[in-house]
């Protein structure tokens, strides 16, 4: 057995996290920053942080992930990291020439107490930041929150640094062709960001999607070295976010902070909702775009919705009451839980390492009348070790989560759907969305493949079915 030491009996743990269902803030900040055009994420800390984050993101996307580091050594840890950051900016702008450097902190620089805005101001004073270039920052100590909160903080920084007050004339002109909305997509894949833009365009909306990693972490083969692939949201576009009619923020944990900050700064009303994964959440998303944009839902989207419903009804028997265990990030978990409920499936165990107070309420809301029968937990010891113990006590028909779930899936012989971050051993997540009606259809297909393959594998010969 791969996880041979995991006992069935659950004992209380207070201090030891085993097989975490989360990682640390800076990697989220790095991923978010990759969604700005011509932006180099910069890790203000030891070299190892940057190396680990780049490696993990690279394994997840099978794409180059460019980021630099302040390369702290003992001296910097004693005297502070100011000179390392100043030197970094000088090197970065002379060698890599980005438009934006997005600095995020680490547990090291936060424990030291480096004041990043002060250092950026000094760099500006010393002429280390070329005209037209920007250095932004996010405070992302690893001992607070998780990778999702790090992502959220960097997205909020995009608002803090780039949003300009509404320019009425510009706004009216911009809005004239088609209504303008901001969409904050949350921590989703480039494929999802493309799908969100496609849905908005299909509805006749001009959507400013930020961050936007499409074109960057799914860049095509080019035959040449490209520090900054042609994707992401530009500084100019970010500057106009204040002109939009409204902001639709997808995923409260990853996107609400930026949407509220923008409302406060530029008076753009916002609507925060669960990620559009599955039927109901996509319905609410599409409806929000309709209401906020003052547009109609086009026939093409109605058709996609109808196809999804069609498959749901065609294949309902294979999904009904299937017991599912899930682990991952709050926004994905809540939306998925609701989708599973829509399919009359049975989400029984749910854990996220990301500490969020509202998680349990949101899950309870998604589970409706089944809330009392399910086990769900958030925070440090809500880890995959605990989830595995629950499964050992009463097994499930399906496990959904990131690649690390494959160890549990193999030991317990449970079908496994890879979803979330990181996925290190498959490629589909980069190119095929899970959001929207199309994304829901893909999730449905994946789950059905797992269930039906399992039935084909296990059925006695006499009841081996040709047609299913």
């Amino acid at each position: 057995m791969l996880l041979r030491h995991t006992p069935t009996e659950v004992s209380e743990r207070r201090s030891l996290t085993i097989n975490p269902a989360k990682t640390c803030q800076p990697i989220g900040a790095m991923y978010a920053a990759l969604g700005i055009r011509d932006c180099l994420p910069h890790s203000h800390g030891s070299q190892g942080c940057c190396s680990y984050h780049r490696s993990t993101l690279t394994r997840h996307y099978k794409e180059p992930v460019m980021a630099s580091t302040s390369s702290f050594t003992e001296g910097a840890s004693v005297f502070g990291g100011q000179s390392n950051l100043l030197q970094s900016l000088e090197t970065i702008f002379s060698v890599y020439k980005p438009r934006v450097v997005a600095v995020h902190t680490t547990c090291l620089s936060e424990t030291i107490g480096d004041d990043i805005p002060q250092i950026i101001a000094k760099a500006k004073e010393e002429g280390k930041i070329p005209d037209g270039a920007f250095v932004i920052h996010a405070n992302t100590p690893s001992y607070v929150g998780s990778h999702v909160t790090g992502f959220s903080t960097m997205v909020k920084s995009m608002v803090d640094y780039f949003a300009e007050p509404k320019a009425p004339t510009r706004a009216v002109v911009a809005d004239a062709g088609a209504p303008r909305l901001n969409i904050i997509p949350g921590w989703v894949e480039p494929a999802d960001m493309r799908e969100i833009k496609r849905i908005a365009t299909a509805m006749g909306i001009q959507a400013l999607v930020f961050p936007d990693t499409s074109g960057i972490t799914d860049a095509p083969f080019s035959g040449r070295a490209e520090m900054f692939p042609a994707g992401g949201v530009s500084v100019e576009a970010l500057a106009t976010m204040g002109d939009a009619r409204a902001t639709v923020a997808l995923g409260p944990t990853a996107s609400a902070a930026a949407a509220s900050a923008l409302e406060l700064k530029c008076d753009v009303p916002h609507e925060t909702m669960e990620l559009p994964i599955g039927l109901s959440a996509t319905d609410r998303f599409v409806d929000a775009l309709r209401r906020r944009g003052g547009v109609q839902v086009p026939a093409a989207l109605e058709e996609e919705r109808g196809q999804l419903l069609d498959v749901m009804s065609d294949m309902h028997q294979y999904l009904y009451q299937k017991r599912v265990a899930l682990f991952g990030d709050p926004d994905q978990l809540v939306a998925l839980t609701e989708f599973l409920m829509d399919l009359d499936m049975d989400p029984v165990y749910i854990v996220t390492g990301t500490p969020t107070k509202k998680f349990e309420d949101r899950i309870r809301h998604a589970l409706k009348d089944r809330a009392d029968r399910a086990k769900f937990k958030q925070g440090a010891t809500a880890d995959m070790f605990l989830l595995h113990q629950w499964i050992k006590n009463e097994s499930v028909d399906l496990l959904i989560g990131n690649t690390y779930g494959k160890y549990i899936a193999r030991d317990e012989d449970v079908p496994f759907l890879r979803l979330g971050f990181p996925v290190l051993d498959r490629i589909g997540h980069v190119y095929f969305p899970t959001v929207g009606y199309r994304g829901a259809l893909r999730l449905l297909e994946k789950m059905l493949d797992l269930f039906l393959d399992r039935q084909d594998r296990d059925a006695p010969e006499e009841s081996f079915e040709l047609v299913m």
Binding site: N19, P20, S51, S77, I92, L108, A380
Partner: protein, 566 residues
């Protein structure tokens, strides 16, 4: 344009191309870390700067001290519960990502390698200290798993807030009665992973080596040092040694167990694979227990044969020598056959290797066996001795970063120190060519004029590839996809791209085939669509941009393997 430039002009030109974009001070520093290899027997040779700080802001291959300690050296041992003391990230990223394989003898034996253990420090632990949480975490780990040993690994903030992981470890060791040891391997301690190797060596030596004095009865008992069983390399080597009749007491640390380390001081020879990561252990074991060490290399068929012969030579036994020759004779025909096949397809092609602290050297032997040329190479975290040989050890300046790492003072053990051979035997073996405590480094094995670059940056790598267009580039995961976007195949030499094993004779054959697959893969000839050739493209793989490896053919497509007209 037609003037033939001298070699040195061309070399200067390339160096300039690599350095041009840097601010002057950075360029000066980087220039000291790159040079064209000029073989020389004299000291001082032109020294290469290595093991120095990476300039902040440079996109480097390097990682941190924690990665070298917990990830590299301690990671591959299956029955120690390794607890990362810190916020969650460090433990998460070092969880199963290095492909260290392990094979517990039975399904019941301990194997914690698939687990990640962390104290997951929160803000209040940073403010009020994390020692209490660490103690509780150790207790919880003990209650759940009853392991033989627990290791505690410090991450950056731990050092700053002053948690004493060693005191906590001592206290819990006394309480629980198992080995518990701490590592001050905070990420900022050194300039790269290398500092972490040293720290790991020190603590393993202090706390584990020598715990079990069960006497050694096998006449040919060795330890293998610096082999981490990536992709199963150690399994191949274990099998070879066994067939030769050589007993492996412990491997540091591929496919290893705590118990092997505890008894490792009873071996008669330390055979060192990765000099960089483990030479400290070899030196300390020699001083304390009298175990001599020799440098060996099981990457490459010739190197493997040579290494086995060296071990046989050390034991000075006809029986062992015959057995070793028998095994080599069994293995070589298939190797030579595969080499012949590989040479037909790869001879004369060029490779570049930028990785690690030994692999950029060891893997050159495999490429040479295929008749390929090494145009450039360098290490990610090595020291000068790994380039120029241990003969330069005395001339290496110890800087503040190296002084940070404890240098253990080791003396001969009053009871257990035992010279492994008479002085005259040693002298005779030396006369016969066996070199003790010696590593000659990467450079003597390189062709004159080959470019050597230490701690290559992303920028330099891109420029280098642009200039040389090598047929293959070896690096790590962070570099891989950027290189491949340039149309050059990249072989990862950390993870082996999830392939391997490449050690020993069978591994060499596997590697030849892998390089053939990469260098001669078909899609690299199909990077352009038909319309790119007729000037219709406006973007993307536009015709004006030359993709180095594309072969343009007249009169239609090169894509079809089938002749439809036939």
């Amino acid at each position: 344009m037609t003037t033939k430039r001298t070699e040195s002009e061309a070399q200067g030109d390339i160096k300039d191309a690599l350095l041009r974009a840097y601010p002057p001070k950075v360029a000066r520093k980087r220039a000291q870390q790159m040079q064209y290899h000029e073989p020389t027997d004299d000291l001082p040779a032109k020294p290469i700067k290595a093991n120095t700080r990476t300039v902040p802001g440079i996109i480097t291959q390097r990682g941190c001290t924690y990665a070298g300690c917990k990830g590299v050296v301690l990671g591959p041992t299956r029955d120690i519960v390794n607890i990362t003391h810190g916020p969650i990230g460090c433990g998460f990223y070092s969880w199963l990502t290095r492909r260290n394989q392990t094979r517990p003898p039975t399904p019941e034996d301990a194997n914690f390698m698939n687990y990640c253990f962390s104290t997951d420090m929160q803000e209040e632990n940073i403010i009020f200290g994390g020692e209490k949480k660490l103690k509780e975490a150790i207790q919880e780990a003990y209650d759940l798993f009853k392991p033989k040993a627990i290791g505690v690994f410090s991450t950056c903030p731990v050092g700053l807030i002053g948690d004493d992981v060693h005191a906590v470890s001592r206290e819990m060791e006394a309480k629980l009665g198992i080995t518990i040891f701490g590592f001050s391997c905070e990420g900022y301690r050194g300039v790269s992973q290398s500092a972490g190797h040293h720290i790991a060596n020190n603590q393993l030596f202090k706390h584990v080596v020598g715990l079990d004095d069960t006497p050694q009865t096998h006449p040919f008992a060795i330890n293998l040092l610096g082999e981490y069983n990536i992709g199963g390399d150690a399994f191949v080597i274990e099998d070879l040694l066994q067939r030769c009749g050589i007993h492996l007491v412990a491997t540091f640390s591929g496919n290893s167990s705590f118990d092997f380390f505890a008894n490792s001081h009873t071996a008669d020879l330390n055979a060192v694979m990765c000099h960089r990561s483990i030479n400290y252990m070899a030196d300390m074991m020699e001083k304390k227990f009298g175990i001599p060490w020799i440098k060996i290399n099981f990457i490459g068929a010739e190197a493997t044969a040579k290494s086995l012969r060296k071990i046989a030579q050390f034991f000075d036994s006809d029986l062992l020598e015959q057995q070793v020759e028998k095994v080599i004779a069994e293995e070589m025909p298939a190797v030579l056959e595969a080499q012949k096949r590989a040479r037909r397809r790869l001879e004369g092609k060029t490779a570049m290797l930028f990785v690690g602290g030994s692999r950029a050297h060891h893997y050159q032997t495999l490429f040479k066996e295929m008749g390929m040329k090494i145009a450039a190479a360098g290490y990610e975290f090595a020291h000068r001795d790994d380039y120029e040989g241990r003969r330069v050890l005395d001339s290496i300046q110890v800087d503040a970063d190296s002084r940070n790492i404890e240098e253990l003072e080791v003396h001969p053990d009053p009871q257990r120190f035992k010279p492994r051979m008479a002085d005259e035997t040693k002298a005779r073996l030396e006369r016969e060519g066996l070199k003790f405590s010696e590593y000659e480094g990467m450079m003597p094995d390189m062709d004159p004029g080959a470019l050597v670059i230490d701690d290559i940056s992303h920028h330099e790598m891109e420029r280098l590839i642009d200039r040389y267009r090598p047929d293959i580039f070896c690096a790590g995961i962070k570099e891989k996809y950027g290189i491949q976007k340039m149309g050059i195949p990249c072989k990862q030499l950390h993870s082996y791209d999830y392939g391997g094993p490449y050690a020993g004779f069978a591994g060499a054959i596997e590697f030849y085939e892998e390089i053939d697959r990469l260098v001669n893969c078909r899609f690299l000839k199909k990077l352009r669509a038909p319309w790119h050739e007729v000037g219709l493209a406006s973007s993307g793989l536009a015709a004006e941009h030359q993709v180095g490896r594309v072969e343009t053919e007249k009169g239609g497509s090169d894509s079809s393997d089938v002749d439809y007209a036939a």
